[in-house]
């Protein structure tokens, strides 16, 4: 019941942007991918989501190669928030959230769908914006809409239907401080309820505060992984980010 990379490499223009990465994500934990720009965090996340195929090695979900999963089965248990969304058509906010229910069309009833969409919007404090044109929203509001969409996607997946995985690439990037904190608290809560949560995050203070585990990337390789407070030692942060002095996160 885990999400793994096994010796996975991705080569672009002759350079390995991910080099023989091996890591295991267990469900029930909020796992943060951290490291400097270009260290391979997003690439690793794309391998885990199946958006990208490794040139060498493999990405596995529950022991089976992601490639061998049927797209619909995958969509019913794993959801992805990308860094940005190219949506350029004037959908209403509630319609974008409703798109998260795509893998369940014909399975979930109308009434239940509306309930889920409403609840996912409420979770992201979007209820007031339901009838707004998505294109008129700010970057942070759009980000919350996309998070609500993936929450709606996995909302009803039961334990019998499979393990739920939520993969997020810099989900806090456009959010204000309050929404950053409440999103990380939500991710932590979801992990406590048994979801697998993997997020690429840059704010080490927030990670230190909220995440269970951390995978530190440097130069396309996994530098360290383990419990957040063990991995993010002042010395490790100094070495990974090439700082001049040890950097303490503990307040």
């Amino acid at each position: 019941m885990s999400l793994e990379l096994k010796n996975a490499s991705v080569v672009r223009a002759g350079k390995a942007i991910l080099d023989q990465a091996t890591l295991t994500c267990e469900p029930g934990r909020f796992i943060a991918f951290c490291g400097p720009n270009g260290a391979g965090k997003t690439t690793a996340l794309s391998l885990l989501s199946g958006a990208l195929r490794p040139d060498q090695g493999d990405a596995l979900m529950e022991g089976a190669s992601i490639r061998s999963w049927k797209p619909l089965e995958l969509a019913q248990r794993r959801a992805v928030v990308a860094q940005s969304s190219p949506l350029s058509f004037p959908f209403h906010v509630h319609e974008v959230v409703e798109m998260g229910r795509t893998p369940w069309s014909g399975i979930t009833g109308r009434r239940r769908n509306s309930e889920i969409v409403a609840a996912a919007m409420a979770e992201m404090e979007l209820t007031e914006l339901g009838a707004r044109n998505y294109l008129t929203l700010s970057g942070g509001e759009r980000q919350r809409v996309n998070i609500a969409r993936v929450l709606a996607q996995l909302w009803d997946t039961s334990a019998e239907q499979g393990q739920r995985w939520l993969l997020l690439d810099e989900p806090t990037a456009a959010l204000d401080l309050r929404h950053q904190i409440s999103l990380l608290a939500l991710l932590r809560r979801l992990a406590q309820q048994g979801w697998g949560v993997v997020a690429v995050l840059h704010d080490l203070h927030l990670v230190y505060e909220h995440a269970d585990d951390v995978v530190l990337f440097r130069d396309g390789q996994v530098f360290a992984s383990g419990g957040a407070r063990d991995v993010l030692s002042p010395e490790a942060v100094q070495r990974v980010y090439r700082l001049e002095a040890p950097y303490a996160l503990a307040v």
Partner: protein
Amino acid sequence: MDQLRTGLSPQALPQERDTSLADAAGAMQAARERRGQVVVLGCFSLAVIGVVLSIMLGPLEIGAFDVIRIGLGAIGLETTGDLTRVQIGVVESIRAPRALLGMLAGAALGGAGAAMQGFFRNPLADPGLIGVSAGGAVAAVAVIVLGSVSLAGFTAALGTFALPIAAFLGSLTSVVIIYSLSIVEGRVVVATMLLAGVAINALAFSGIGYLTFLADDTQLRDLTFWTLGSLGGATWSRVLPAALGMSIAIVMLLSLMRPLNALLLGEDDASALGVDVERAKRTAAIGTALGVGAATAACGIVVFIGLVVPHLVRLITGPDHRYVLPGSCCLGASLVLFADIVARIAVTPAELPLGVVTSAIGAPFFFWLLLRDKKRSVLG
């Protein structure tokens, strides 16, 4: 907080939860759905009226009831003994194939416009603007001019299907070129898409120009009228092969209602939602090429339908393809049929080219769209 926690538990939402939010969201959704359904139904009725009017009007006027009676008579449900043989003949061999061609060509062009705009995630992707029509046209003109010379083998092998198949291949080539040029790392570069369309159009029209230069006098009369678009050449032998192609294309395009919605989020997000992106893209490309190619083969280049129609539908229904696609097919059919009626009666006894009428409607509409979007700065 407690409420949220139960909401996210695997046991799903409990019944006693406050349902007013869900009611509000449901009502919002239902309102848009109802509006979408009304629009699709309205456009469909308009297309039916267009078909009947198109058969009624002309030098020999035929009453609406007689049109319906001849239609029923053709399948043996009504006796038409009191109508003259001329009336029945005019309807059956002149106006019916013309109306059928107008209806299907309009539906194929409207649907293809909606599909291309979704496929390229941009409301400016029109089969005419990006060269899909011109690609079909140059191939069709080649068959007309060279059909008895260098392409003799091709036309002999395919018979009446030679023209629509050639046009389909020409249109498909345009779609493939545009796609491979304008998608960079999964993102659509809109400027490249439009400029590639300009280049393909220029190339295709130079090809058409050269073929026109090669054409003999009888072919020439055919070509000049045909490059401006017309339903005038509608005979059953010409309409039926194209009709088959357009019908298949319309069915293919209508199957894209849900995948296209997800595709608007981007290819990665769509595939994360379980949509078979490669298959959806293939269906959109082939359906568009087949629809536009077959329509172009039968009635020439009819511009602006693919641009104007989906915009008009989207204005009222919003961008949901469950309504935009069928609505565009029906409104496209109506618009072509009514434009053809105008083309026929504006300068009787002569006939205007259909493309002239659709441009006269479409180009000002395009200007209006640009002006409106300039003010609002957001499409929609």
